[in-house]
Assembly symmetry: C2
Homo-oligomer: 337 residues x 2
DNA sequence: AGAAGTAGTGCAATCGCTTGCCGGAAGGTT
DNA sequence: AACCTTCCGGCAAGCGATTGCACTACTTCT
């Protein structure tokens, strides 16, 4: 291993001088800079990141913990896309990404605090969006930099990035209403997730605004899975007066819902809207109308906020809402007779 | 920040003793251990990972670089699933995962060598499977630990994990033959990837073994994308005597191929097999027959091999082949008249 | 001409932990 | 009783960088 000392020797200067040249900071004469750079090139020197971190009291690494139960893991490309966003931002800003994958949300806290306590990262990105989370309290208590993605908490003075989930629900319902539907059902995800809460809110407010009744029997909850959607649709269809259109708060559920319809030969009778724009939902039959969430941008922005804070560019907490977009396909693209 | 010195003071011992207790290594009397542990608990002490790395000359981190052009990124769940495998292994063995995402394979080398040169990781997992890769030469030259996944190079004494891609091609073709097909086409991925080469080999060998002719006109190459498959199928269908069955070396391509068939109303006329068992391929119409690659296991095994090597558990290079599995669905589940 | 700046470098402490080596105490051998 | 082992645990030297401070030449000012 060639160290900074070797370079210093080769260039006939002190290690501190090499360090200064490399960090581009202080006033070192052009001549000396030249000599140092030549030595660096000649010896093929790369500063040891670990040593640099220790001395500089900063790891230049941010952590992200992905809590995904194996089953849900595949169901949607949310995390890969999010990480692409995060990674893209970080790459350009010379930060590293330390990834921790855990099976359950329960382990998430442990995994995250491990990173934090061991000082492996300068900040973390949190993706699990439970309504209340002890993890957040702990991070706040330790004043450790972090940013929430996919969750908006107006009460807490913390960084977050989110899409407007209420608008997601609203867009979906407005679209269905415009297609002539009056009895609109809801298949929602786990009720304690803020995404669920927000999307349902948009759903309900829009119904109310349109003067349509809220029918509790037309609302069911399930897991963010195909099976959840399948069962949910089954429940809705067993009602005396079933909905003619259903808003599913997730694509996987919407796909399950469509399966239930197919089995009963009701495809063109009940409209379905999903959320996420999972790439393959365009390919199923019928292709799925869905609301596209800007996942890449979510990750990218989150990383940006965190890095800005670490660099001291910004002070207070930043909170960003990114717009979603309705994508109309076959599953709703017809008008109720 | 509480340091090892604080703990030492609180326990009335030297820092070295604390270190020894924590690393569980040397002979420290139970009484002292008890006192140290108590102090650790009381002060809520966590060793600084950076300092530990510097002193211990090991980062306990392995690197993985994901080179995915944005477009392909979404198309298949290969990487997330791979990383789940890697992550699961690493978590149990107390290793960290440093992730670098790059857009193009070209940047892959740079990104990887950056990690290596800066000594941020103890070893790396390589996923891009170009036939020849300068990156591999560089790593070998520096004697840096690494493992290849999704690629088998019998020439080089390096670690790798792969599924048997020749068997993948063979299974697909055998299945098609068993369904009565005689004119079997191939839509293959980029010709310089080893996966492409191996799968094609299995394809061709099986045809030969069955005494069926190799028809060059029935073989086309394309990108690992829906569009690639769509165009590929278009080309095959424009032949005078088109194939009655097509093996696509990737699910995304197979989906594209099915789209081309649908447009021409040829779904039940031409059988299609894909590779990967992308979860949503079960949901498209017709559902896709495919060969499931053990992606999770691939990642898991790769990580295992690397960690074992880093820990000095094993010596020479290890090379592992994991079995794939045919999943029959609607796209082939009929017999040629 | 002497005082006061200023620019360009080097010295050495420091970051928090690991580990080789050494020494004291306790117990075991002749 | 003198001598060896063995067991514990401390000392101090690193690991490879960063950075505050000091020091030496020059300029520049009065």
């Amino acid at each position: 291993m060639t160290t900074i000392r070797d370079v210093a020797k080769a260039a006939g200067v002190a290690p501190s001088t090499v360090s200064r040249v490399l960090s581009g900071s202080s006033r070192i004469s052009p001549a000396t800079q030249e000599r140092v750079r030549a030595a660096v090139a000649k010896l093929n020197y790369y500063p040891n990141a670990i040593a640099r971190s220790l001395a500089g009291r900063a790891t230049h690494t941010i952590g992200i913990v992905i809590a995904r139960p194996a089953q849900q893991a595949l169901a949607n490309p949310f995390f890969p896309e999010l990480m692409r966003g995060v990674g893209t931002c970080l790459q350009g800003r010379n930060y590293n990404l330390l990834l921790s994958m855990t099976g359950s949300p329960a382990e998430e806290r442990t995994a995250c605090m491990r990173m934090v306590h061991h000082r492996q990262v300068d900040g973390v990105i949190l993706t699990s969006s439970r309504t209340h989370d002890r993890l957040i309290d702990e991070l706040m208590a330790e004043e450790f930099p972090f940013v929430l993605v996919g969750r908006a908490d107006d009460q807490l003075p913390v960084n977050w990035v989110n899409n407007d989930n209420a608008a997601v629900g609203a867009m979906a319902v407005e679209h269905l209403i415009s297609r002539g539907h009056r009895r609109i059902g809801l298949i929602a995800g786990p009720p304690d997730l803020t995404v669920t809460i927000d999307r349902r809110r948009g759903f309900e407010e829009t119904l109310a605004r349109a003067g349509l009744p809220l029918t509790p029997k037309h609302q069911v909850n399930g897991a963010f899975t195909k099976e959840g959607g399948y069962r949910g649709m089954g429940q809705l269809l067993s009602q005396p007066e079933p909905p003619t259109a259903v808003f599913c708060t997730d694509d996987a559920m919407a796909v399950g819902a469509l399966m239930a319809l197919k089995e009963r030969d009701l495809v063109r009778q009940v409209a379905v809207v999903g959320v996420n724009d999972d790439p393959l939902t365009a390919l199923i039959d019928p292709s799925l109308t869905t609301v596209r969430i800007p996942v890449f941008e979510l990750g990218n922005t989150a990383a940006q906020i965190l890095v800005d804070q670490l660099r001291g560019v910004v002070q207070g907490p930043r909170q960003v809402i990114l717009p979603s977009q309705l994508v109309v396909r076959e599953s709703t693209n017809w008008t109720l007779a």
